[in-house]
Subunit: 310 residues, 2 copies
């Protein structure tokens, strides 16, 4: 699982251009990059564009760091569905001689894992995950539920890759809706309408499609088929560096999955439903660089205006 | 090491107020919090204020995700000096039956660490760390070196605590100077002058002091004494929730430590020196809430104006 996957020649050549222009900066690990100022600014402007689009719903602004209590990952079955993508955090809890031995081995780039033990934390795998326990802790929802804007949050997926659009650590521009089933579905449908035009307005050929998650193992194929059949997940696909278009946003209707796990109750005591919407900030930025060229100053005037660059 | 440390009664009471006002949101783990919109906005405004202060040096803007290649941590001796604070990232690389067993144990909140193995990544312990290998990769510096603004970056310290100002995951607003020794020292001294007035202008009682890092173990005491003696580290101290003032910024002169580790060369082929400057975004925000009250709208007009809130 998660072996380094080489990119296609087209992906490798796009990555080389991005590195050459210092839009991305290579590190010693595939799929982990620094971001040059120009790319970072585009990620922020995309976030702002989505903020403006979501303002009518007056979301509550909440932000979370990129680590999550391990207990919260355990509670929602992530390790059943995506064990291959999860990252757990280990730390040292030994004495001075163990520290010295650990340091010696690390200095020789040898294995020092035996000195590390599991902490209470994991890396956040999806920007919506910390929202559910935080809302559950408040007690019953008000009528109509709540809309939470979780900002532009770093998430981790353990899948080293040579495709610049498949990073191990990237940002999801995330909004979450929690409430009555019909309220949540109406919100999901509103964004399903709103999002394709948002991306088309900045010159991206965005297509909406029913999708499924990359569930693990043989059982995962059944889960994926069921998810598609119930149309629980949609993605916005945009060409970046082929062969196929890349998902740059996804809309996920979880029904009562997260609400049951954390006990999120509606005003009348019933179980809430949840949905989330995540835009991949770096993927949309890469799609823009691919569509309009690597020099932001030369992008079409209307694209620059919509991103408030001009 | 890194046992949960209870906060003082004053810290516990300040934390309770912050949670009550939803400026911070509790999670299941001490020192890991969500951020309410009002606190997040202050963190951003502090970052912007520091950006404006640093504009005369025209820094290059670079950003890095909160994970770092393990090799980069191994190369600079972090595990010698701070093994108790480091976080390493583990992941699953097993088969379907191992995945099933891991999931079963996790669902019962039992130990599933045996199914996790060390990856090539660690959590970034300080926002300047990814900057050095990225600059080294470019080859020799131009004369005068380079100033890098690394933004408001999440870093990890494994020290669960009940003091709201001691988080496990927090943001450093980080600037790095790399160049000739005298250039780097002049830059460090410029910021040592500039920073206290920056914080005093927003109403914080900031005091500059020679400081040392929390080096590990018995040998660490000698390292700390030597660091103080050479005045390699300064901190800006501000009262938050006692008993003593809290370091909200630090200025670190590394001499040739990082440049030697990565081979950063001056224009003439000599070894570069480096220094960094990190403002603790959340700590400064907490200090502002402590000094001016929990309602941002009621902060003094000149403070709001300097933070561009008004």
């Amino acid at each position: 699982m998660a072996d380094d996957r080489a990119g296609t020649p087209e992906q490798a050549s796009f990555l080389a251009e991005l590195l050459d222009r210092r839009l991305l900066l290579a590190t010693a690990v595939a799929g982990v990059y620094g971001r040059g100022g120009a790319l970072e600014e585009i990620c922020e402007r995309i976030g702002d564009m989505i903020t403006r689009a979501g303002e009518p719903e007056e979301p509550e602004q909440l932000r979370f760091p990129p680590v999550l209590p391990r207990r919260d990952l355990e509670a929602v079955g992530y390790l059943k569905n995506f064990p291959h993508l999860a990252g757990s955090i280990f730390a040292f809890a030994g004495n001075e001689s163990e520290a010295a031995e650990q340091y010696d081995r690390a200095s020789r780039h040898e294995d020092w894992s035996e000195f590390q033990s599991m902490t209470e934390l994991v890396l956040t795998p999806a920007a919506c995950y910390p929202v559910y326990p935080a809302i559950a802790a408040r007690g019953r929802l008000a009528a109509g539920g709540v809309t939470v804007d979780a900002g532009n949050a770093y998430v981790f997926r353990h899948e080293p890759s040579g495709d610049p659009a498949r990073m191990q650590m990237f940002r999801q521009r995330e909004i979450v809706r929690i409430g009555e089933p019909e309220t949540v579905l109406a919100w999901r449908d509103l964004w399903r309408q709103r999002s394709p035009s948002l991306l088309r307005e900045v010159g991206l050929e965005a297509e909406l499609a029913v999708a499924s998650d990359p569930f693990f193992g043989r059982g995962g194929r059944m889960l994926a088929a069921s998810q598609r059949e119930q149309a629980l997940k949609f993605e916005l696909l945009v060409p970046i560096a082929g062969p196929e278009p890349t998902a740059v946003a996804s809309f996920n209707y979880h029904q009562d999955h997260f609400a049951l796990a954390y006990g999120i109750e509606l005003a009348d005591g019933g179980c809430a439903h949840t949905a989330c919407l995540g835009f991949g900030a770096e993927r949309i930025a890469l799609a823009l660089f691919r569509a309009h060229g690597l020099e932001v100053g030369e992008w079409p005037t209307d694209v620059r205006r919509r991103l408030r660059l001009a």
